[in-house]
């Protein structure tokens, strides 16, 4: 069973991801801030994370850089409600970061799941 980390500060949104991925038989861990997520990584080893960008505290991209810096074997899919955000240039070239940027609302969960699986395999 694969483990997925959902990082989103918006409860309803986070919960919808949790519900979806649980239904799809993922093991789901969740965090509402980047700091929480980093803390979580001390104990959990998710294969992939769905990362919101705009967060209280550190932003999603900061979290990703931090996680990569800690040599965590984790793949990332960025999913943000802020349209002015994209995948930052330095993260574009990271093998573990999906080039596909998902916008909230996610209208097709399946696409997101497939992308998560793909990047997970790719970075593994």
């Amino acid at each position: 069973m694969n483990t997925i980390l959902i990082l989103d500060d918006e409860y309803v949104v986070r919960q919808s991801f949790v519900d979806y991925f649980e239904d799809r038989l993922w093991r789901v861990v969740q965090a509402e801030t980047g700091e929480q997520a980093l803390e979580l990584l001390e104990t959990e080893q998710p294969e992939v994370a769905i990362v919101d960008i705009r967060l209280p505290g550190i932003d999603g991209d900061v979290f990703i850089r931090e996680a990569i810096g800690r040599k965590k074997a984790l793949a990332f899919v960025i999913c943000s409600g802020s349209p002015s955000y994209g995948v930052p240039d330095d993260l574009q070239n990271q093998v573990s970061v999906s080039k596909h940027f998902f916008r909230k609302p996610v209208t097709n969960f399946n696409e997101l799941e497939q992308d998560a699986l793909r990047i997970m395999k790719k970075s593994a």
Binding site: Y11, D19, G81
Partner: protein, 686 residues
Amino acid sequence: MTQRGKSDKKVRLGVKWSKYLGVNMMSQNRMPEDKLMSELDYLREQVSEYDAIFNSSPVMFWCKDTHNRLLRINDAAAKFEGKKSQELIGKLGQDLYPKEQADAFYQDDLEVIKSGKAKIGIVELHTAPGSKHTHWLNVCKVPKLDENGIVNGIIALAVDISEQKNSEIELVQARTLLDTILNGIYDPIFVKDEEHRYLVLNENMCDMMRHPRAELLGKSDYDFFPKEQADIFWKHDDKVLHSDTADRNEEHFTREGETRILSTIKSSFINPITGKRNLVGSIRDITDRKKAEEELHQLRNYLTNIINSMPSIMIGVNGDGTVTQWNTEASRVTGVSNEKAIGQSLATAFPRLAPDMQNVYQAITTQREVVINKRMYQQNNKKAYENITIYPLVAMGEEGAVIRVDDVSERVQIEEMMIQTDKMLSVGGLAAGMAHEINNPLAGMMQTADVMTNRLSLANLPANQAAAEDIGTSMEVIHAFMEQRGILRMLRDIHASGERVAEIVDNMLSFSRKSDTTKTRQNINELLDNTIAISSSEYDLKKQYDFKSISVTRDYGRNIPSILCEEVKIQQVFLNLFRNGAEAMHEAGVEQPTFVIRSHYDAKHASVVIVIEDNGPGMDKEISKRIFEPFFTTKSVGAGTGLGLSVSYFIITENHGGEMTVESELGKGTRFCIQLPCDNNNGEQL
């Protein structure tokens, strides 16, 4: 008695008298008495005859001795002095005349006395004592001799020549006056005789000829001018000399490399002395006047040209509204020619401005310009706008005004567009700030609804099966219930509505000058092909059209330079146009829906032009004018966001510095025209 006989007698008398007296006084010889008596009688007769002649002669005689004493004076002379001869005889000169005058007379006498020679032709001014009249006398003084031939006085003869002398003076005065007048006239004046020879020339004429008068008199033009020039003068002279009509001519006269224009007037008259026809001419140098006229003419032309080159309508009116100026633009717009308009009332020549006479009067009375901006009028059933400025004229005593009319329809349109753009920008700014806030709750709703759909409908989901079994039912039953109660449809509706909100937010975000993506060089024809391919793959039941059923005619220009653009955004514009067109054609039930897609390079504007044309239902002017406005839609509520075209417009004009226009007519399809500059970075820099 003839003159001749009389003079003979005088001569004889003189001889006889002197001889007799001499004999009588100097010789003691006696004559016989009878002879003596008869001689005496003869002598008496002679003396009385002589006295008669002496006194009745109109010629004045008098004799004086050497001491200036008057010895004899005849009646004519005495009368001239206003006295009787008896009163005068024996008087001295100084008794009769003022000393100065008397001395002057005596001086002449003495000269004759001393020289013993006659002095003739003494012309002197003579005022008789006690008389106010002055007379000119021609006096002749001869020495009076005694029997020994010794001068013992003078005999004077005088004729009153006042009349002659006065005529002479008058003549001289007249002549002087004429010369003064002729020389005082600025224009050269001349008289020529029948042989074209100069008879009279005033000083200015001599100056002009550069010869002294003496050299000119009696000569003709051939003596002073080159033949060709003299020929012309001669010809005109001839015309006048052989008729009594005056000749007015402008002659070019070149000297020392400078050409002057002379206006000559020649007329003829009969010379009273020769009886021949002579000519009198006067010359005026009109070079400066001509030059001034020419300059004035040029200046007027120049001004007219300026006024006519104006893109504005310029109309001059006087105080009562009569047109005095009418430029080319005024003629073009009204169709009334300059000739027809001038002199007409403004209201007749340009009915649209009839109500403005009030403003013209106001401008004139207040001496301030009147400005009316963006006044609307109807032209060919279209709204048009013009700016009217009325300037009061401050000409000398002449009141009037100049009316300037500028067509600002285009500017007003651009301004309206700019207002629209501003609106879009504020929408964009608002959206950028709100997007995150909207998208998150929206994601909560939609994503939750999607998960709900999964949980209510997916029979093979293990969690679903487990849960259903737990509560003693099956997914089939639950699914059947959901279908029957329309729950799944409702969830789909939630999803669809959420998608629309997301789309609106997305579109609104496009109204932002900030751009995430960078511009790349794109071949517009390839971009069109790609977009057509994407469109073709869209078959949307909900949107109810099938792009594949539409025939697409491509007419691409060759060698179109690549343009710097945001590929995704330009594609979005094309896609939007294809979707709109396809939907419109589908809805209108067009039998053979067709897109015609053209592209070409416009070298003049250094831009690529893309034309996308459909044969759909088209639209009327009112709609096509508003089609790019945000939230303006003709689609039924729920079918469109009303932002697609305004986003497209924004992308082309704001992000890419291009132009986007629409042409459409109801029932005749729609044509969108996009122009993208080849060398643009404008969108980014705005």
